[in-house]
Symmetry: C2
Subunit: 145 residues, 2 copies
DNA sequence: TAAATAAAAGACAAAAAACTCTTTTATTAT
DNA sequence: ATAATAAAAGAGTTTTTTGTCTTTTATTTA
């Protein structure tokens, strides 16, 4: 198990893929996205429906329809995608899963975790969705399994 | 969902608890540990059997039996506990779950993740199991939900 | 307006994780 | 030796996550 849920991994890979494939204003269909990031098609469909409701991606039905992103969304931080799918537990929660702890009576790892989750949050806040388009175009990076 | 599995959270809390309750050379039973860290008793029992097989905790059966830790184990890093339960995926694996990526053709987040997982690993390597005994004794920190 | 297209929605199914309950085995003390 | 104790082991159930399949709705083009 990594830091993110599988669902969230697919979500991240798909927004990278959509951003990369639609920067010219076109749209890309679910089948192409699914094969492009090697994810189960119908499972990904659910995820994209979710992201669509939450405004992370846009979609249109019918012929020549598909998913795309507008310029303002492209500039949003990756943290928005993670929060939409996995919630903010990764940023606000803690490693040991206690709920009734406090700053004055924390678990032993409290201070250590504060640093880690701050690192993660800052990384995801400074990373924008579109910033990898260049490398993806060049084939330097990949999203397939 | 936090960084660790629930199983791993219980494991960490229980080793802290056992370390804290047996530093005088005594033993502590499963019931007391379970209530002490507010975890399901029989579920925790499985986890401790596992940790016992892997040498993280010691145990003796029968009257006045229970779990304890020896001095050398007390000095081991928390990373050993995490690795015993969740494996080394958190340290070696990655955020996007790809398997056929490489340094030369990584996913877009590769470099970002390298920093994060290094942070986590270093934190868990420098944290020893016994180092919180003092604060637990003083009641400054707690392990109960 | 009809046919084709593609996402949205709904209903399941499989796998993994989390949790419960019972029986067995080892140890100790009487 | 026997009874009491406490961990180990085994056999489940429940819940959550992940994945599949089918039907419906919206849009476009002919
Ligand atoms: S004290 Fe901090 S790290 Fe520990 S359980 Fe509470 S919030 Fe989490
Ligand atoms: S490139 Fe790095 S971060 Fe990306 S999937 Fe591979 S190992 Fe993980």
């Amino acid at each position: 198990m990594g830091i993110f849920s599988k669902t969230c991994e697919y979500a991240i890979r798909s927004v990278f893929f959509i951003a990369h494939r639609t920067e010219n204003g076109s749209r890309v269909g679910i089948k192409e996205i699914a094969t492009g990031i090697s994810s189960p098609e119908h499972f990904l469909a659910k995820i994209l429906q979710d992201l669509s409701k939450k405004g992370i991606v846009k979609s249109v039905k019918g012929p020549h329809g598909g998913f795309y992103m507008d310029e303002s969304t492209l500039q949003r931080p990756l943290a928005d995608v993670v929060e939409a799918i996995d919630g903010n537990g990764l940023f606000t929660g803690c490693g040991l899963g206690l709920v009734s702890c406090s700053e004055s009576k924390p678990c032993p790892l409290h201070n250590e975790f504060k640093v880690i989750r701050k690192n993660i949050h800052e990384m995801l806040l400074k990373t924008t969705i579109k910033e990898f388009n260049g490398d993806l175009n060049l084939g330097v990076t990949n999203l397939k399994k």
